[in-house]
Symmetry: C2
Subunit: 135 residues, 2 copies
């Protein structure tokens, strides 16, 4: 017998607001940054809800949760595989449109200490424009 479908997602006010605010940011924001922005527009939404909604959207594949070295997770509205550059001074994140042959890279790395290499993470570090000008 089929498992009863009780998983319908509800269309709550909080979900709409978090979505709208997130889409209005183009910073690859962290959950905390989205929470801050949500507060200004709608001070009633709790931190936990913002964290939950972003994580949920990422699980559903609607947005992408980025793992970065030395920074909190960020959320990205762009879905495909691409790379990022992180400002080492202020933590700003930007996309890097760079063709990288992942397959060739992982092939070349294959075989070390019996590891099966499946994927790779390429991330750039640098200075954003405003931090460059401040130094």
């Amino acid at each position: 017998m089929a498992t009863k479908e009780t998983n319908q997602k509800r269309n709550t006010l909080q979900k709409r607001i978090v979505h709208d605010v997130f889409c209005s940011l183009h910073n690859h924001p962290s959950a905390g940054m989205v929470y801050e922005a949500v507060q200004e527009k709608f001070p009633g939404i709790s931190r936990a809800t913002v964290y939950r909604l972003l994580a949920e959207a990422a699980e559903e594949g609607k947005i992408q949760r980025l793992k970065l070295v030395d920074a909190n997770d960020r959320y990205d509205i762009t879905l495909g595989t691409h790379h990022h550059v992180v400002c080492r001074s202020c933590g700003a994140v930007a996309d890097v449109n760079l063709e990288v042959d992942h397959e060739r890279l992982t092939d070349k790395a294959e075989g070390h200490e019996g590891f099966l290499i499946e994927d790779c993470h390429l991330e750039f570090v640098g200075l954003c424009e405003s931090c460059r000008n401040q130094i």
Copy 2:
């Protein structure tokens, strides 16, 4: 007048033990893993001391502190720039000896949104031998 040199490092028992234990591990251990190993040999050393000594050794350039995506910091006895592969199942880390032209990579990535790109982080993800066999 010259600032008095009061920065002499002392040769403590704790320092020797942490160093010896760390050198006996070849796992790219985290500070916590070194602490565990230290406990077995010398249960008196505190967690804070192990964390401090490892961080200090890294600051002095004696060992390398690795930042990884989705894992705690690890310490590496190998000093030069090289890459790593992380097991997505158990978190094990191994070196990857792969020639990568960082300069060419960062050059190709240059100029995005006004960023000055200085460096890049390349990390592989996969399965270690024992995790591969367990699946």
